[in-house]
Chain length 592, copies 2
């Protein structure tokens, strides 16, 4: 499927995030400036729009196949994988110590967005390598790090995350896979896992499975789960590949979308001969998962942005080519000139833009907090904690809202295509089918909403949320006296005030287990998502105005997006907040 | 896919619509009372939940095939078709004169809903037979009626509607198919049509194509389109089948959903040997289409209800079986007990219920207007015109809103299933894929919104809309002093007042071609959809209370739905009206 990298947006938003998060002042990031970012993006763009994008429909049409116990990836996957790893893309944001390029996240973010737009099914191994590496860097022994990380960072081996079991999905505490301690300190792993992305494939010689399992005397529930690294082929102390480790793929799922990404069922230790090593402390497996999950959730939110962009490009292209009906002069009109089609396109455009801005700011903020890790004065530590809290607060919003919206937008893309969108050959149905899983994996929207409300908002008595609202207020107040944006700014402030008052009247007050609270968690997240997008649009406008951006058409479109978004989408935030205020009315009484 | 007929709702809503539309007082409907309706529904239910439902996934998995120029329907389709027609279901609401059962629409509505829930792809021929018959009854010569109607009504032949061409979709005025007059009064048809549902298949010996085409001297655009009946095999004067009529299927679409329904490309008169007969007057083809379209739009809205019901049943069943996480007592909890899952389920339940109520009222109202056709006094004529205007007003709302919501709900069904929903074997992805076309065919949501705003609202200077709002006001006022529903009633009245004031300030006032108007047509329709659902829920509650319905659990759930819907969904109507008020801000300025 054709995909053009949205350079102008990316460069502008990358540079803005870099400046606004103060990365220019960070010593350890010297040299890693937007100029480097642009050079990296340029390279990545060629590969994304070229090789990867052209394989996107191949992956969808052909899909992965499961034959004789083996997973065969679609035609072209192997070549593309080799090119991808040889160009060093896997290790882009991984430590130089293990062969990576050690780039900050703010540069990796637009690059990852390109991969995800170009071919989501293909590049799923990339986020796994990134997440898996971070787990090993944080929790694994030096021996494991030395044996595994160089291979993972180079892409010589891939990573698989084996979490889910048939009866343990969102509730990982229910899992049953066993890990039996052996004399030599290793563990024998035995159990069945499902939904393992790239759990088996034909791209590399080895696959490092990170498996959640229970030791025999572990406590019940989520406190008794440990993490193990379990390679498909054993790894000797010198890193050499050894014998088969009794890991069998028993099948792959026939999915609605993402056909090019194998989703495997794996049986560990069928012959009692599957050996794993403990990663981190016993029974602390879920803690390691939290590291991964934050990473994965941000990556998943970025998938929302990427699919939104891809869909928007396809819809716009079609709307500009397809004529139907006449304009006011009685001439044949391209459907982009019909106001309702324009509405759909601008909805996709403005929301994708705003979510991209949000995603890039989050990435730069993570860089800032990591760089500040070694700062010593109390003040800076506090400011850093507050930045970390901000990232933690925004993560579930970004993950859930960007993916929910990507689903809505993908539906709109099909709608713009009309009957042709329903026909698979046009390719846009694939976007919709691929997008469907993004609100489910890495924690459903419901789970993100609970995380937001219970951990992130109630967890600190509303501190991080209040700080966020203060930032939005400051920005909106700046526009309050603006002739063009005054009304929009006032509406934004009204939404902020509503959240503030709901915080004390409902969100912090209601019983933590009440239906009144949990029954409105998703509407609350939705309201926050729209509010964050509004904030980001105002933020880009304010910053670009201050920078005296001289690109007139770009600035005009930016102003148009701010007007449009606040006119069309902000009312939905108010509606969602009204739902929060209604606190689950009628919900408990219904007997199914 | 399992489907249980929602008897209780259907019977209750059928009886209510019958009473409220005054059908008990209609002489010509004597005997066609709710008792008969129940008996018919009972019979239909067996067939729907039995044969049809069990073939639903077969159709999806196997799909139709195109081999050697022929369309082969999925396994079981032929048998099911035979059973369907032998039981007389095609002619259920068609005139007895031609072999039908002549049942009123209010009885056909729940029956059709069953078919659509059970197997949408299969029964698409049914709406075609119904719509095609109505066209012939209204416009065709007696000779055509005599030769075709008995065969269509019995199901011996099917009907295909050949409208769309590659460059003429929503804009039928652009079509190019030719009709050359012959000496004997017939026409030679020549042209290519696409997207023809059941345009070819292996279910019957003959197919009656209703083809839109242009005669050589016809005016350009939509004023030069005529309608022809063009059989696959010619039909002699005595009704006997003659030779092949040069109609060739050139392929079927590979669609996202509705795999069991063949969507054909058809070439008419490749060998210059395709003969058609004019139906109605020359150049009046679109008028005939309008008859069909109203019929088809109501049927399409009902598809939204039917898919909503099917999805709700699957989601509820899964949510009651699947355990994940714990309840407040620390016990394993079925996910139906998680407030956010309950929210999704009740959203589907209440909206589907409300839309069903709306659909049944519309059907009964059509019966009432048709029965009143022969009434003579001026008063009754006026009241009847006003009823017709009501149906005309509600038609685009019902079509577009019910199908848009079916898409949202189908997405929610997958969400309730989590990862399992993304796996095709569970079957719920099919509901989402099937639903996707419903907001497109029979006029996209954008086209319905334009019809609503321009023809139905502005066409009579807001008269029909004002009458509708008055009815909603009357009902809401009744609940305004109610202890439990007072707040919900007040919110409803607020929404009505907002529509009323927007009518004069915007909807009737803005330039008819303005972006400010067309750019908010879909939000306006959405607001009206929610408002109509609210109205219907209050209406059912009021009526059942007045009837002193003694089914306590049912009444409790009904009250819960009214509370829930007004708390969760009514705010979105207000948001959509706010968007209307914002009148396309930012939309014209953006340069794509």
């Amino acid at each position: 499927m054709t995909y053009k990298v949205p350079y102008k947006d990316m460069q502008l938003l990358v540079a803005q995030a870099y400046q606004q998060q103060g990365l220019d002042a960070v010593e350890s990031l010297e040299g890693f400036d937007p100029e480097l970012a642009n050079a990296v993006m340029e390279e990545a763009a060629k590969f994304a729009s070229g090789v990867l994008a052209s394989l996107n429909s191949v992956g969808d049409v052909q899909g992965c196949r499961f034959q004789d116990g083996k997973v065969i990836t679609p035609n072209g996957w192997q070549d593309a994988y080799q090119q991808f790893t040889e160009s060093g893309w896997i290790g882009l944001a991984l430590p130089e110590e293990f062969g990576g390029q050690g780039l900050p996240k703010y540069i990796a973010q637009p690059v990852n967005e390109m991969w995800l737009s170009a071919n989501l099914a293909f590049v799923m191994f990339q986020a796994l390598a990134q997440g898996g590496s971070e787990i090993l860097l944080n929790f694994a022994s030096e021996s494991i790090q030395q044996r595994y990380l160089p291979k993972i960072v180079s892409g010589e081996w891939t990573v698989a995350m084996a979490l889910t079991e048939p009866n343990a999905g969102s509730d990982l505490g229910a899992l049953n896979t066993k890990a039996i301690p052996q004399q030599d300190g290793t563990y024998k792993i035995k159990g069945q896992k499902i939904f393992i992305t790239y759990g088996d494939h034909d791209l590399t010689d080895n696959i490092a499975h990170l498996v959640l399992a229970r030791t025999p005397d572990a406590p019940a529930g989520s406190r008794g789960i440990s993490l193990f690294i379990v390679p498909k082929y054993r790894v000797a102390n010198d890193g050499a590949l050894g014998e088969f480790n009794d890991i069998r793929c028993t099948g792959i799922e026939h999915k609605m979308g993402l056909h090019g990404s194998p989703t495997c069922s794996i049986s560990y230790g069928d012959q009692d001969d599957c050996i794993g090593e403990l990663v981190g402390e016993l029974n602390q497996g879920l803690m390691a998962m939290f590291v991964l999950m934050n990473e994965a959730r941000l990556s998943c939110g970025l998938q929302g942005v990427a699919l939104g962009e891809l869909g928007y490009q396809r819809a716009l292209e079609y709307a500009q080519e397809r004529t139907q009906g006449t304009n006011s002069q009685g001439e044949k009109a391209a459907i982009v000139d019909h106001a309702d089609v324009k509405r759909m396109l601008l909805e996709m455009r403005s929301e994708t833009f705003a979510l991209r801005a949000l995603g890039y700011q989050i990435a730069a903020q993570i860089d800032a907090t990591e760089a500040a890790h070694d700062q010593v004065t109390l003040d800076e530590t506090e400011s850093n904690q507050s930045k970390k809290a901000r990232v933690a607060l925004l993560t579930p919003i970004f993950k859930a809202f960007a993916t929910e919206r990507a689903n809505v937008m993908a539906g709109q893309v099909v709608q713009v295509f009309g009957g042709m969108g329903f026909v698979e050959e046009t390719g846009v149905a694939q976007i919709m089918r691929d997008a469907r899983i993004t609100t489910i994996y890495e924690g459903t929207t419901g789970i993100q909403a609970r995380d937001l409300l219970i951990r992130k908002v109630r967890g600190d008595q509303g501190k991080a949320l209040t700080e966020l609202l203060a930032d939005i207020t400051q920005l909106a107040s700046f526009f309050e006296i603006d002739e063009t944006f005054g009304v929009a700014a006032k509406e934004t402030l009204k939404a902020v005030d509503t959240v503030t008052s709901l915080l004390t009247s409902h969100l912090l007050k209601l019983d933590v287990n009440s239906v009144s609270l949990h029954g409105v968690s998703v509407p609350f997240l939705e309201a926050m998502g729209i509010l964050c997008c509004t904030w980001q649009l105002f933020n880009v406008l304010a910053y670009q105005q201050a920078q005296e951006n001289t690109d007139k058409p770009y600035m005009q479109n930016l102003r148009s997006m701010v007007k449009f978004y606040t006119a069309y989408r902000l009312p939905s935030a108010m509606a969602a907040l009204k739902v929060v205020e209604n606190a689950g009315l009628g919900l408990s009484e219904y007997e199914f």
